[in-house]
Symmetry: C2
Subunit: 209 residues, 2 copies
Amino acid sequence: MKKSDKENTEEKIFNAAKKVFVRKGSDGARMQEIADEAGINKSLLHYYYRSKDKLFAAVFEFFASKFFPDIFNIFNSDDDIFIKFEKFIHAYIDMLSKNPFIPMFMLNEIKKGNASFAIKVISRAGVNIKAFEQLVEKEIKKGNIKNVNPKNLIINMLGLIIFPFISRPLFEVLIFDNNKNAVDEFLAQRKEEVSTLIINMLKPEKTLN
Amino acid sequence: MKKSDKENTEEKIFNAAKKVFVRKGSDGARMQEIADEAGINKSLLHYYYRSKDKLFAAVFEFFASKFFPDIFNIFNSDDDIFIKFEKFIHAYIDMLSKNPFIPMFMLNEIKKGNASFAIKVISRAGVNIKAFEQLVEKEIKKGNIKNVNPKNLIINMLGLIIFPFISRPLFEVLIFDNNKNAVDEFLAQRKEEVSTLIINMLKPEKTLN
DNA sequence: ATTAAGTTTAACTATTTGGTCAAAATTAGA
DNA sequence: TCTAATTTTGACCAAATAGTTAAACTTAAT
């Protein structure tokens, strides 16, 4: 086969592995299922990726780079602070809409013991929480935003953004009577909802004098 | 052995199973690991619980009843609507503080295909989302709370409550430099944080005339 | 056309793992 | 104390599954 086809096979394996690992997790996934999903012989998995662990590591790294994307630098721009938050929230929800299963996958695998691996990816991606906290404190001092706890702010924001994707299988049936279109609409509308909420958390009270 | 000891063995198995299933998930858990954790012979697992599936089902049902606890009826009381929310948030975070791994376990297993099982437990627990939505709409009409979307309200509230527990392994190292005491403090303080946020989402604007 | 390198396949192996079984140990009751 | 029921154990089994191998096939270059 040609080189372009070789890459094609490797890609087919990688894409199939992404699907199956996301669906079943690192333990539940079966090499045979990945091979079937890719439509190729199981031995090819080992030909291209030595072992299940190596294949999983590749998939994990791929998703980690999505989950900790290169968008925290939005906070390094010289936009107005509220614009920064709005841009970040929109960008992150857009990413999750394209990859809705990433949060569950990542957080579950991290919990099972891949935290240190994740940290490497995070620092490589330039995610800098300390800088974020300092930014918030600076804006508080300047009086541009309310006196909020930066750690709470991060968790609140990420929770509001990420939780709907993690809990979708549950609330899809519990709240939306299995109407998947309604859920998709709901998730799309979350961009505005979360932006508004965060901005309301941050907007200083109108002084009354 | 005596009957009290028999129950003791069964309990030992059940408690060990809870630990291991939470740690590794239904696929990652090994019967041998559960036996070791319980300090008993592996055959006893099958003596008391027939199969891994049956043992897992018992554990799943146990956690499901915790995850969908009998506290939604707080909203059926005749407390003030803000008190209802405050009570609910406090009660739920208290429960999670005692069982911090339940959300990750439940949501992950539900995602992997136990949704229908979960629904049974939910309805048995009397969780009634429709009633909650109607309550919110009623209070909106009465002008007691702002005109919010009830579905957004539920997801926002549950996200703010649950997400910190799901993401703890990540933010513990990323935001808290592995200071576990600081994280425990942070989580305890979330009761007030979330209550305040939800109430601020609901409090009508002060009219200016 | 021939060759050498890379790719694909089916058959096979080794290990892990859920589950069984019969014997041994313990307990409760007569 | 003797017996029957219950509980516990270690050895074993069968199925599932990750990984190996050697041969067959394909491709690109000469």
